[in-house]
Structure formats: C-alpha cells, structure tokens
Point group: C2
Chain length 161, copies 2
Amino acid sequence: MRMSEGVEWGLHCCVTLAWLEGEGPVSTARLAASFALPAAYLNKRLQALVRAGILTSTPGARGGFQLARAPERITLMDVVAAIEGTEDAFRCQEIRRQGAGAEHPVREFGRPCGISTAMRKAELAWRRELAAQTIADVAAGTPASAVEQTRRWFATERTHT
Amino acid sequence: MRMSEGVEWGLHCCVTLAWLEGEGPVSTARLAASFALPAAYLNKRLQALVRAGILTSTPGARGGFQLARAPERITLMDVVAAIEGTEDAFRCQEIRRQGAGAEHPVREFGRPCGISTAMRKAELAWRRELAAQTIADVAAGTPASAVEQTRRWFATERTHT
C-alpha cells in the first residue's frame, strides 16, 4: 500500500505557500521549479487542493495559488483527503457473507464484521493524528534560516520572469 | 490509497483457523470455498502468511494450513504487514532537497523533514492500533452461533472430500 507522491507535493506546496503568505499568488511553474517537479502533474494536484477549498487559484499572467484560509486551519488530513480521496484504505468486501456465509441466516450479519470494525479503528487513529496536525505546525517547525532562504528564492525568481 | 483485498482474505482465514483450532490442517480449497474466493489467488496470500510465520503449511492430501501460534499472539499488524509489506504508506522522496533546496547548505537537512515526521506520527498511530488487536480478539467478538455454524460447515465439507 502506497500513498501517491502527490501527497508529499501537496503538503510541501501548502507549507511553502504558508511561508509566502502576503506575497501574492504563486504560479505552478514557480512552485514546480522550487522542488524540481513536473509542472503539469503538480498542477493537477494543486487543482485538487483548489477543489477541496484548501487553495485559491487566481488566473492571469501574475496569477497562481494562495492558501484559501489560515495555515492553522488546514490540517494534514485535509490535504491527504484532497489528494488521496476520503475512502478508507481497507475496503471491506463483506466476504463473510459469501461461500459458507451464504447459508447463514441474514440476521447473523446485523452486527458489523469484527475485522472491518478493527481495521476501521486503526484507520480512525491515523485520521485523528493527521487531523491534529496543521500546515502551520509543520511550517513553524522549520528552521528560520531555511524559511528565509526559500522566501529569498521565490523573491529572486519573480524578478527574473 | 487502497489496501489489497488480500488483507481481508488473510484476516478472515486467520479468524476461521482460530475457530477451527485443534481440528487439523485446513486446505486452501476449503478455505477458498468457505468465502467463495479464487483458490489460486488465496493460496498466494496464505503462502505469504506462512513466510511471515503466522501460519504453518502441511503438505499432502490431508494437509493444509494451521495457525503457527496462539491467536492471542497474532496481531492484525502481523497479518497486514505479511500481506502489504512493512513499508510506510507515505514514502518521503525528500523533494525539499530538490530545486530551490539544492542551493541550501547541506547542514539544513540534518533534521528530518517536518512533513515526513508528521506523516510518520500518523502511520505509527495506525500501526499501534493494529498491533493492539489480535486474531483472538476478533474471533472472540463473533456470535457463538456463527462460529458453531462455521465449524459445522467445515466438518461437513470434510466428510464430502
């Protein structure tokens, strides 16, 4: 089981946009260059974040992306769900009702499957942890020198275009 | 992100084998029939559980699979790891070192990436929850009537072959 690389891309872009708050929209091209990522693929991820209400998109030559709300109000869960979807990783197919189970009385399946319940419990622990951490938390954990360097890189890049 | 259906198959087979403890080995064909699963695919999952030391396999006409240890000592994490592998779902590609990051001094990357750390924290919460639940817990949560019916199904099936 592997999460799409788009999750890492999306999270890093959100953190970068948190550092660049107040500097205006940042284009896909600049975000892609800052991580050496393929711009077209990155754009699809950024559009998914727009659809999820995490980013806003401004069209035009000086357009680009900005956080749609304060980084304190964007959790890692929001970003993961926007990129990966909201379905559980474990999808119960109710195989207990097949084969031998097909001969059991239906009332026996009134209670949810114990395996499904147990797997859901773990999934919820994962979701709870992701929901407890925000883009602001991650942004705040980065050394100030790295943030400063990133901001400078984006400022310089802008004057060149 | 989706877990392989083999996880559900493997978990159900382990719970079934816990119910049938003391009845001798159970063949792939019988386990597959009991859930109406394709026997060849199921066998691959069962072999993975053997390699992980969760099941033992006995060859021969009356051979099959048994739990390798008490169901109290087999966690859901053991089964998920045996089928899905042990790697984290989120695989950090260190994109922070690319693009603009390539110009940063190496010492800046001495600390692990905050995003990677945050994602790992959630993954550990998920693993902890899976490791806290055993096959015995799930088996014990099933209504006695369903267990009895399953045991009867396997006993009958055996006399037919």
